[in-house]
Amino acid sequence: MPVSFEEIGLEAGRRWQELTAGERPWIRIGTALCGEAAGAFEVADAVKSELASQGVSAQVSRVGCLGLCFAEPLLDVQLPGGHRIFYGNVDPEGVAEIVSAHVAGGRPVTAKALGYLAQDGSDAPVPDDIPDLDQHPMRIWEDRIALRNAGNIDPMDIHQYVANGGYQALRKALIDLDREQTLDEVKASGLRGRGGAAFPTATKWSFLAGNPAPEKYVLCNCEEGDPGAFNDKNILESDPGTLVEGMIIAGYATGASKGYIFIRHGHNGPIDRCRAAVDQARELGFLGENIMGTDFSYEIEIALTGDSYVAGEESALMEAIEGKRAMPRFRPPFPAQVGLFGKPTNINNVKTLAYVPEIVSKGGEWFAGIGHDTSTGTVILCLTGPLKYTGMVEVPLGINLKDVINEVAGGMQDGKALKFLQTGGPLGGVLGADNIDLLLDFEVLRAAGAIVGSGGLIAADESACIVDMTRSLIAFCQYESCGKCFPCRMGMSHLLEVLERICSLEGTSEDLALMRSIGENMQAGSLCGHGQLGYNPVSSALRYFGPEFDAHITDRTCPTGTCLAPRYSPAQSRR
């Protein structure tokens, strides 16, 4: 007996009311990969055992990442009808007091509280002795679209997603709009791919929509092997419903018959939560035959890959789903003509698809009004390195990169100064501390020799050596070269050899020219971005830090001493 969307919405609303304003307090614990690494599972165990031993009744949910990773493990308590009060850097020993005083006694442990988040619809007074978390530097600049539910809802419970507006966009697309109008909304939004290339999403979709083949695929790329970027995995762990809904809408707009979500094997948190979101969507009739009573039928499957960074390249990704070595294909034909299993295919990044439900709900014009110039909307940044506040933020494009580092991330730890910023993943570039007065915009950053890429920003202070960092990035690129075309396979190996030599203070005066020549060959002769962009880390480092390379080569000294310490690289590579 099919249940109507209205009935599902009512049930979801009833459950949400029970969680937020029912009989019992609600405890939420951040358990994305960042929380896990900080000890959130141990905190969750402590919550369970303290509730039992103190005889306290409460609802407990494992949520995703609120973005304030520096404060993980992060736990919050919401008393019935009240506001959320957060505790940061919780250790298992501190849980007993939170349970006895706050959960059971109704009195927040003010001295240990990180802040509160006021809840819509609550008429309880906000605490006057606890800071407002929305005024925290990491949140005050934010505009949460793709991350609107992250850290708020249990990712394993589709009803919590529906209670917060989930699947309204799909309903609007299927019932109120036709396929073309849905595509038009995405076109009006100016949305560009967030995987690195920043290609207009609606244009990509229109290639597939224009292909009349009966079987067509939409692929979602969550390979995300980039060191320093974790926003794709974090969306899957925090709010997989947004991605699944975005993918169903993409399927509808392009006339596709099936979607695949592609995730690296071993990342069990993202995989399990994504699987639950797909299975539950199917149970509620958002996937399968005749979705919401229309003639649109669609399925989503989760496909796993082995470890391979190049598997994130769109044609290598299709090879991996087909079960082969993740090596890029020659183009043409392009995926929209001949893609997965020879069928027309469209490939989007997780973040790109995660924007789609809100774009359809609120309209493309609304999204286009956010951002800067042709870089519309927001960008999801991963802030890492020795910054005061590390984590994940969603800020409007057009924000100044200087403000991101000095304000949002609070500057460097221990009052140290920024030395360089590595942006956009291992194929991106570095910027010197004096060169970050830039608007965060796809074109502006590209012109500066860096890219927005996947949104990773790795900051380094004065103790870091730029030559060592460049060597580390190239070691990664060399290890991950798939080996299909020799300019990349051999070029990366040669670049690494030269950089190892410079780090060992045995470089020669010809080495910089040698690297440039290798880099030019890689750019001209490689089949995919891995080789074409592979010289970027070196060229951008030389652009801003030439004298530090000279110190290694001419003066035979590493100014920071970093290069004197032992270095290790993985033994097994695809060379």
Binding site: E36, P227, G228, H265, T305, D307, I321, G323, Y568, P570
Partner: protein
């Protein structure tokens, strides 16, 4: 059918997703056994109507596959740029010393495998390591050595 062959058979046939491939079958075997024995290469070849050579091409491409039985425990140290810039090399050196190894690999008593991982995915908690696939962040050489010692006090990791 030997016990090993039975487990390979069940892992490959136990896949529930619609798209079953050489790679998905190898991943299923690795989940079950922790490695890809020669028997699995042959079984997956027969199952997928591919040659052993084709299967080996795939298996040898992805560095997550290993071809010898796993040690009792595995420690991975993240080697990505976010971890590198805050001291991953020192953490790895300390892990090697605690394990009595010179570089990546297995200890002779097969109690521990140590390897580098290109990104464990918790970059905001760098430097990150994992013990039997459980993440530990904000490590330093001292805490990393303690993590290894603590792990070696435990029974074999139930697979």
């Amino acid at each position: 059918m030997s016990g090993l062959e039975q487990r390979i058979h069940d892992a490959v046939h136990g896949q529930t997703q619609p798209t079953v491939t050489v790679l998905s079958s190898l991943l299923a075997v690795e989940d079950e056994l922790g490695y890809i024995p020669k028997e699995a290469l042959e079984f997956v070849a027969g199952f997928s109507d591919a040659t052993v050579n084709d299967v080996w091409a795939v298996a040898s491409f992805y560095p997550n596959f290993r071809f010898e039985p796993p040690s009792e425990h595995v420690v991975e140290v993240c080697w990505g740029a976010s971890c590198h810039v805050v001291g991953a090399m020192g953490v790895f050196k300390s892990v090697l010393e605690a394990a009595g190894l010179e570089d990546e690999g297995d200890t002779p008593d097969k109690r521990l495998t140590v390897r580098l991982n290109t990104c464990l995915g918790a970059c905001s908690q760098a430097p990150v390591m994992s013990m039997d696939h459980h993440l530990s962040g904000r490590t330093n050489p001292d805490s990393a050595a303690k993590n290894v010692a603590h792990l070696l006090e435990q029974e074999a990791h139930a697979r």
